[in-house]
């Protein structure tokens, strides 16, 4: 599937596979039915009933669901700099286990991915370490400092999948405007973390009744939506697209919907935790519930869900943010922001949204695969003859418990530890090769 210039991974030869008897569901290709899928040398060769296996390896998919594999547009691989928390190898293994065939890594590493040299070293490492294709976003501003633009042209030539200062907002409207203008030369998307930091200040959680009771400094929803409005206004003025990272507030969704209606080419993503949790959960003071932006009110959660349903929000993104155990084993206030998500995203959303009837399975599959791929101009995984095989085999009846010891990620700071989920990834095929099987 990979357009070779922006997704990088091991060069694994395509396999010969026959996936037998699964319900094949690809909302984009309008496929839904029980059938066999034959893959020749990594490419989907035939869909149909009782296909001849020839010498192909046969995988029994009876009672299972076969869907286009997932694409995660927002992962922190912590490389370079914090390889104790995640590496390209461990992060892509975790992604494979989560059903992903492609992920995008954020540039807020140490050093920051703000030069072709740093990006080049990642591209090279990915070719030997990445279990599934991975793309790398580069920074908008040098050192994420919000003053000078990076060499976006050179970075795009070196393979940048897009540009973002994620972790920080683009500091000033002036710089954001220049990024929108000059970013056009890169031909790659611009993604923004929307946070007015003079409002969020030292905020630890959503500002509301729960923060008032617990005593935490509040991070108000307007700190996000104000910056969403700024960036949408600039995108509209410049006539350039923009991708909004990890939305959390109703007002942000409303602003995005209005901008899209007005013709602004804006896209957005939302995380599983923002779709499943509210600030009420923070009464446990569990540092694995500390993230930026924070999970918010019931009303905000409902707005995010509605935005995901009606297509205002195109993508589910995990914002997988690994942290060392000792850094989260501290009082909530001292803990860093961020939770992992690659290995639990589908099951969490299936359990908390699809099973209770809040989101249709088809919509979830679309928003975890075609939606994010299209937002970043990546090839859309499809189940159709002639397409590279990017497939996930799911058991939507299997229940499992999220255990700290079972992660492929180097970090275990999951908000789901100890919880029981329904929906298990049985197999992932990425770029024509089996990358995970359980």
């Amino acid at each position: 599937m990979a357009a070779p210039s922006i997704l990088f991974g091991k060069d694994i030869p395509g396999e010969n596979l026959l996936l037998r008897g699964a319900r094949v569901l690809d909302p984009e290709a309008d496929v839904d039915g029980v059938m066999d899928v034959r893959i020749d040398a990594g490419t989907i060769a035939e869909l149909g009933a009782r296909l001849d296996p020839n010498a192909h390896r046969v995988v029994d998919g009876e009672g299972l669901l076969l869907a286009p594999a997932f694409v995660d547009p927002h992962v922190h691989l912590r490389t370079p700099g914090r390889e104790d928390e995640e590496t390209i190898a461990s992060g892509t293994q975790a992604a494979a286990a989560g059903g992903y065939c492609a992920i995008l890594a954020m540039p807020n590493t140490d050093p920051v991915v703000d030069s072709a040299a740093v990006l080049g070293s990642l591209v090279e490492a990915a070719a030997s370490d990445a279990e599934i294709p991975v793309g790398f976003l580069a920074a908008i501003s040098k050192g994420l400092e919000g003053t000078e633009l990076t060499e976006m042209g050179a970075l795009a030539d070196a393979g940048a999948a897009g540009f973002t200062d994620d972790g920080e907002p683009v500091a000033t409207p002036g710089l954001m405007r220049r990024a929108l203008q000059y970013g056009a030369v890169s031909g790659r998307p611009l993604a923004v973390h929307c946070e007015e930091t003079t409002l969020s200040r030292s905020g630890q959680m959503h500002e509301g009744a729960v923060s008032a009771e617990l005593g935490f400094a509040g991070y108000p929803s307007v700190a996000e939506s104000l910056m969403v409005e700024r960036d949408l206004s600039l995108a509209a003025y410049e006539g350039r697209p923009v991708h909004l990272l990890h939305l959390s507030a109703r007002e942000s969704v409303d602003a995005l919907r209005a901008a899209r209606t007005a013709g602004v080419g804006a896209t957005a993503e939302v995380t599983p935790h923002h779709l499943c949790l509210t600030d009420d959960a923070l009464r446990s003071l569990d540092p694995n519930l500390k993230m930026n932006p924070p999970v918010r009110s019931t009303d905000d959660r409902a707005a995010l869900l509605e935005g995901l349903r009606d297509g205002t929000i195109q993508a589910v993104a995990t914002d997988h943010a690994p942290h060392a155990r000792h850094e989260k084993d501290v009082p909530f206030e001292a803990a860093p922001f961020g939770v992992t998500g690659l290995e639990t995203a589908f099951a969490a959303l299936y359990t908390y949204l699809v099973e209770p009837g809040l989101l249709r399975l088809e919509a979830l599959l679309q928003r975890m695969s075609a939606g994010p791929a299209a937002a970043y101009g990546l090839p859309v995984p499809r189940i159709a003859v002639g397409e590279r095989a990017n497939l996930v085999l799911l058991d939507t009846r299997a229940g499992w418990r999220v255990d700290e010891g079972a992660f492929r990620s180097r970090s275990a700071n999951s908000w789901l530890l100890g919880r029981h989920l329904t929906g298990k990834v049985r197999m992932t095929v990425a770029a024509g090769a089996t990358v995970f099987e359980a």
Binding site: A209, S211, A212, E213, L214, G215, L285, V330, E333
Partner: protein
């Protein structure tokens, strides 16, 4: 010598004791609160005797760990433990391994290795006491965790109110000042709600946290509203919060002009409380602090017996989820 003991069999600790802590007022039931106050009252009578020490917790170890400076809370816990004949050990953050960068978890594990019965902890961060409770076998008493909770302060305040008014139900308490940064206010609002008293929070709009009404209290930015209350509870105006251009209030001068508790703003005979330490002339006029209607010293005395009750309760029937135990003193 007086013995404090449980009278009825059904009030004895259940055979398999869950580990119990006092981390937050929110964990307590009304019965828990009433039992604790009853125990404190019994202890106050025992303290009127010439021989003030009770043998109740002999052989038990109470460790006090204070990561924040504190005079009254730490001294009152230490004395409470000593009055009950427990062994005590007090650790301050400065001069300890914390100075060498030890994590709270490791400090807790180290102290836990001595098998203390109770760890009393004050920590500048919300969730400090909860973390310690999660990693040690000891009963943990939260003596203040950041801006979150200070449950023994709220209990001693209830005790003070009960002694003064003879009831708690239906009392109206106005809490005045920097609610935003106050663990005392949060704990007290919950405690007053549990016992059926009413609370109005009064202060500058910037220091009344958005959404706080959901805790079951009213709010007002008008200092005049304090006149309607039975008691005016004055919070410390934390000077350190007013630094760094936070702009919560333009100046302490403006704060004390508008929200300082002065004799003119009180009804004659209206009772006044303050958790200390006071900033005289800022949040409280010196004439108010020194007036006979101020219950501030009573609060300090209440702190001792309330903390004795908490220590005793944790090692016997436990405050959380255990039904009320009426305690009777037997001569």
């Amino acid at each position: 010598m007086a013995e404090i003991r449980v009278m009825r069999d059904d009030l004895l600790p259940p055979p398999s004791l869950e580990r119990r802590h006092l981390l937050s007022i929110a964990d307590l039931t009304r019965a828990d609160v009433e039992r604790l106050l009853g125990t404190a009252r019994n202890f106050s009578r025992s303290l009127e005797r010439e021989m003030k020490k009770l043998p109740t917790l002999r052989g038990r170890l109470v460790v006090n760990v204070f990561f924040e400076s504190s005079t009254r809370t730490s001294s009152s816990f230490e004395l409470a433990a000593k009055r009950l004949s427990a062994d005590t050990m007090s650790i301050k953050a400065s001069g300890s391994a914390v100075d060498k960068g030890e994590s709270l978890k490791d400090t807790a594990l180290t102290l836990g290795a001595y098998d203390p019965d109770i760890i009393v902890i004050r920590h500048p961060q919300i969730g400090g006491a909860h973390l310690v409770a999660g990693v040690t076998g000891a009963h943990v008493v939260n003596a203040g965790d950041g801006k979150h909770q200070h449950p023994t302060q709220a209990l001693l305040d209830l005790y003070t109110l009960q002694e003064e008014f003879g009831r708690l139900e239906g009392l109206h308490v106005a809490i005045v000042g920097d609610v935003l940064h106050s663990r005392v206010a949060r704990s007290l609002v919950q405690a007053l709600d549990i016992v059926g008293a009413r609370t109005t929070l009064v202060g500058p709009p910037t220091l009344l946290p958005r959404g706080i009404e959901a805790m079951g209290c009213a709010t007002s930015t008008e200092i005049a509203t304090i006149a309607a209350a039975d008691v005016v509870y004055v919070l410390r105006m934390q000077r350190e919060r007013m630094l760094e251009g936070a702009n919560y209030v333009p100046s302490l001068r403006e704060y004390s002009e508008r929200w300082g508790v002065t004799p003119e703003r009180l009804r004659p005979g209206q009772k006044v409380m303050h958790p200390g330490p006071m900033n005289r002339g800022v949040e409280i006029d010196a004439r108010v602090a020194d007036a006979t209607d101020a219950l501030i010293e009573t609060q300090v005395r209440a702190g001792l017996v309330t903390r004795m009750a908490v220590l005793y309760d944790l090692l016997t029937s436990g405050p959380v989820g255990v039904k009320a135990a009426a305690l009777t003193e037997v001569a």
